[in-house]
Subunit: 381 residues, 2 copies
């Protein structure tokens, strides 16, 4: 038995994505910057992909810059805001992805950038009143950076409201949309974001490719410097195979959005209700039920010697899931998100179940049986 | 007829590379940062690739950092030298790849970095006496950045000599090795380089992946900031499919080095001698014959109204080649390399023929016939 419940970390490639990439590998090897027929063929594929990708988000092709990952897209936005738009203050939260949190700390240390953290409640919801207070208190050029959905507990922000607030106070708005692209219909312009990010490998596409959405009102300089690729925004020969994969992954995601959503939400609901009815108030469902990713179910189990090995024991049974973000797994310092929202975080062991279209009810049942066998509900910590 | 003579811009993927990538796409989708079995499998592949790649260059695995392209690897080196090693002077040439040239100009403008350009002769050879003079004249912390082989005219630098000079004067040495990795046996430590770069797509691997070699005496910070991937050096989920492709491409290159070299050198020699015997001194062979890439043949034809359309006319006949670097093709300002070395550059139209293992004598013959038909030797410019 091999069960994969870690699709928020990365996903299995869709066979149709593999097919699209295979075709590109076989027949489309030119350099998009070359002017001969081999290059023009590659350029044509590149720009067709860009145009069709942009259309999913109500964006212009020139607003889509291909990057090597979501992290690069997030970095690019923050760097652009500070170094080019002259932002001297960033408003964010302590529960952002490391691609944002670490980048903000890094850039604030280099330039004299003030960083304000908005309050977040125990469900991971951003305190909009506090956000407005912060926006109000200073007329410094400000960037608001709030992730659309938290990757560990799934809580969604009311992105349009945040966008409107930013507009009122003339702040730039960056949202790490890595967990929502391909899972929700998104129109970046309507959402009021200036910067957004995508990573193909979160939606059954390949690792190593993503994009930055940068609103056309902004013309950033490059983070990677060299040739004139990506309209001078991102030097380096374009990852055409990856871009074909990203394009196909997005096209599949948006074609099957409702069907996949129904299936995945169903699995999540089923697991949640079964867990709740069996473990009762010994466990805690993390996040905000009304405004949540349908792909992520974060559950905290009592912290004790037995449960601290839960992930390991589930892994032994062939079930792969994580405590939080894979990007932090190596660090082994627990989840900064959970620590950031729960005062008594160390009383609990968080497990993040994240589902995809390939998961089945049988897999959920197998996992539930495993949990009933393995979890000890007594708190000894 | 479709003939590809632009392998210095990018190469056709080898079928065995496609196979390796396909296998990874099908069976190895875990996130290398995840601790469960799916993640460990990916991590194992990642580190096996790194270890075996490092071994080709006499390097330790920890000296290899995967990047999204050669440009990123070059950028990383220069940024590290200035922002972390405290370099206040860079010695380079005017004929470097844009990934180096533009990055140096960019970083010199931000930090107060002095830039000195070494003299280069008409064959593209670096004046070592001038280099030594420059090294001698100041005891500022210095980075020497000289590409191993020029991508447009093919001239190789005597890299070990340059490395020794840098050592004597305690300068850091970065070499853009994108055109020599996989074509020559390289031992970075013995060459005396602190930083080197690779792009998989130059050696029948995929676009979107490369590596930076960073000598173990140096511990740089990250250019892309977020999770702890690549020992904290390069955040973002690793491009495992690309890394498998790079690994296979390098393994094929080094397994078949002598056979491929003989074949490719043969084609280059044949084309050169046929061109010379037909066009005589109406044409000029660019670069340095004794110290040249065996993959690149740069030939200048007289500049006139007819010949200025040569690339276009060859393209019409199905022959793809370029005037210089693809990274500059979009810019259409001609070659900065040719301008950099020839005082009368505008009297000539440079064509860069770059060959690979897949090219045949028949293709060269077809191209020679086309050139005989198309080239006008009269100078009218």
């Amino acid at each position: 038995m091999a069960i994969y419940f870690d699709s928020a970390a990365t996903t299995q490639l869709d066979d149709k994505v593999i097919e699209a990439m295979y075709e590109c590998m076989k027949d489309n090897y030119g350099n998009p910057s070359s002017t001969h027929s081999f290059g023009r063929k590659a350029k044509n594929t590149l720009e067709t992909c860009r145009r069709e990708i942009a259309a999913y988000f109500g964006a212009s092709p020139s607003e889509i810059t291909f990057t090597s990952c979501g992290t690069e897209a997030d970095n690019l936005a923050i760097k652009c805001a500070v170094e080019e738009l002259g932002v001297t203050r960033i408003i964010s939260t302590e529960i952002e992805h490391k691609a944002v949190l670490s980048m903000i700390k890094n850039i604030a240390a280099i330039h004299s950038v003030e960083v304000n953290y908005v309050n977040v409640n125990e469900d991971g919801q951003v305190d909009l009143n506090h956000l407005e207070e912060l926006l109000e208190k200073s007329d410094q050029k400000t960037l608001v950076s709030l992730m659309h959905a938290n990757n560990e507990i799934g809580t969604l922000i009311p992105i349009k409201k945040v966008g409107d607030l930013c507009k009122s106070y003339k702040a730039y708005f960056h949202s790490d949309t890595v967990q929502t692209v391909g899972h929700f219909p998104l129109n970046f312009e309507e959402m009021g974001v200036h910067f957004a990010a995508c990573a193909a490998h979160k939606i059954h596409g390949p690792k190593g490719i993503g994009f930055a959405y940068i609103n056309k009102s902004i013309t950033p300089k490059s983070m990677i410097i060299g040739g004139g690729q990506e309209r001078g925004l991102r030097a380096g020969t374009e990852n055409l195979i990856g871009i074909c994969g990203l394009h196909k992954a997005l096209s599949l995601s948006y074609s099957n959005l409702e069907t996949d959503k129904k299936h995945i939400s169903g699995l999540r609901e089923y697991m949640k209700s079964e867990l709740t009815s069996y473990f009762g108030d010994q466990i805690r469902i993390n996040g905000c039920e009304e405004n949540s990713l349908y792909t992520v179910l974060s559950v905290s189990f009592p912290n004790n010697d037995n449960n601290s090995l839960l992930l390991f024991k589930l892994d032994m049974k062939g079930i792969g899931l994580s405590g939080g973000s894979a990007c932090n797994s190596g660090a082994d310092q627990g989840s900064h998100v959970i620590r950031g929202i729960y005062p008594n975080a160390s009383d609990y062991i968080p497990l993040r179940f994240s589902f995809c279209k390939n998961n089945t009810k049988e897999e959920v049942d197998f996992c539930l049986e495993a949990l009933k066998e393995l979890v000890e509900i007594k708190v000894t910590a």
